[in-house]
């Protein structure tokens, strides 16, 4: 009896929450980086680079199309940060990846394999969230730097606007984290996460920002836009109205709200994954 117990292998202790999340992160980041979805993301982030390259080439050739406008490079860069990255790329990538964190596993019927491991279910979501963040940050931010290097030297100096670049990189990272957390919750909780996400970013956020009063405080964009060091463009009627009613909370208030939103929604998402029973399609 004593001999049997001496030879049997002791059962290793289950990893803690953080260790589990790190293991899932390690597993997921490779899958995310080498997936078809990354091609979609690469196409999206390549477009601003192509446009920057085109504008720079036209400027070097002295084409009239660029001479007509007196916009200096830093202003064009600010415009591109607003229109491409802040209003489009960050929310769309947040929706796309955030809603897929759990929904993909459910669709592929592979969530069972993750849930049968001796780790907390919430840690699965947290690990995947960090993998999403790592994946998007390492694809989006280099694109911003390339656009910066191409555009800013046009009637501007790289050194003069370097601080703005750093601020832009930080705020884009924060944006990806906050939108990702919000849509991770939407993806974990609802059956039609994509539609809800798209209505939120292109319907609710756009409309709420165009109204005076407190409505805009119920958006992520309100706090995120307060961090932007560039002037808000009025490239459309909606943009013009939004710039009229624009009011910016202070930096600490914005950061506190963004951190609060991120942590709240991430914990909500983890708690939903912990409790919810996912029924796989037969």
């Amino acid at each position: 009896m004593t001999e049997t117990s001496a030879t049997s292998r002791p059962i290793p202790a289950a990893p803690g929450y953080l260790a589990s999340a790190l293991r899932i992160f390690d597993l997921s980041i490779g899958e995310m980086l080498w997936s078809k979805r990354t091609i979609f993301m690469a196409l999206i982030v390549a477009a601003p680079v192509c446009i920057a390259l085109l504008v720079r080439t036209l400027d070097l050739l002295g084409a009239r199309i660029v001479e007509n406008t007196n916009m200096p490079g830093p202003a064009i860069f600010g415009l591109m940060i607003w229109v491409f990255y802040l209003r489009f790329m960050v929310p769309v990538l947040g929706v796309f990846y955030g809603t897929s964190l759990i929904a993909d596993e459910v669709d592929d019927k592979t969530i069972t394999y993750l849930f049968t491991r001796p780790i907390s279910r919430g840690a699965v979501l947290v690990g995947k969230f960090f993998a999403y963040l790592g994946c998007t940050v390492f694809v989006v931010l280099p694109s911003v730097v390339i656009v910066y290097l191409l555009i800013v030297p046009m009637r501007g100096s790289l050194g003069g606007s370097f601080i703005d670049l750093v601020k832009d990189l930080v705020l884009l990272g924060i944006g990806l984290a906050v939108y990702g957390a919000v849509f991770a919750y939407v993806g974990a909780q609802f059956n039609r996460p994509l539609l809800i996400g798209l209505i939120f970013i292109f319907g609710w956020e756009q409309a709420a920002l165009a109204f005076p009063g407190y409505l805009k405080r119920m958006t992520v964009a309100y706090y995120l836009q307060a961090l932007v060091p560039h002037a808000m463009p009025s490239d459309s009627v909606l943009g013009l109205i939004q710039s009229i009613f624009r009011e910016s909370p202070s930096l600490p208030v914005s950061l506190a709200w963004l951190a609060g939103i991120c942590l709240t929604f991430l914990s909500l998402a983890a708690s939903v994954v912990d409790r919810r029973e996912y029924v796989l399609e037969q």
Binding site: V66, T69, M71, L79, F84, V92, P193, L194, L198, F202
Partner: protein, 279 residues
Amino acid sequence: MPIHDQSYRHYAGGRAAPGQAWAVIAWAGIRNMIRKRIFLGLLLFAWFPFVVRAVQMYIAANYPQASMLAPTAQTFRQYLEQQDFFVFVITIYVGAGLIANDRRANALQIYLSKPLMRAEYILGKLAVLFAFLLLVTAIPALLLLLLQVMFAGNVTFVRNNLFLFPAITASTLLQVLLVSFTMLALSSLSKSARYVGILYAGITFFSTAVFGVMYAITGSSTFSWISIGSNLTQVVDVIFRAKPRYDTPWSVSLLVIVGLVVVSISVLERRVRGVEVVT
């Protein structure tokens, strides 16, 4: 229980004439969507602007003090523009999974093993999206025109704006045709409806963002042909006899729209196949 007759049993049902099977697919798709309560709520919500416009017309027709609310030809143009958001949402809700879900379930092979042509399959799927999109664009707009006559008690407005009926019909058909073909082509490219939805939203908003940046940099709207939505706006403006809002010639915008439909048809032709022949 013994089996007495082991011979082949002939098909005793009716045989539909070729070219009619699309209606079965369309009707099944429509019924499937109508069963969803959330979708019905969305359709009701999409009719809310119609109610607001109807009230506006009623007040303008019955209270002379509110003459500033009287409808013009542009009221109908604005109404259709307001419906763009609902068109976007319904397109994603209904259209994203139309072919993608069949591809995911390997149902395409089953469909095409029946006496059903590929064109009929595509037409059936297209009809589902077409029906719901017309339900929130053309039908309420034409009903508004009818309501205006009924509230005013005369046909003066319609007689003075006789072009409105063909304008509403042509512009909504153009919009629905473009949106349906684009979405169906995207749906045939993937097995995931979510991926299709985000792809459609990405193309729509990203093309607009690119145009926005080019507009801000160059100070000219010549690049409006880049944006899918702007092309549609430009052509519909011309159809409604309004001043086009961009510098791009409307014929270029129309060409882009036609080009997109042709590309979509070509994608559908390549992707909707029963068996993949590997050479």
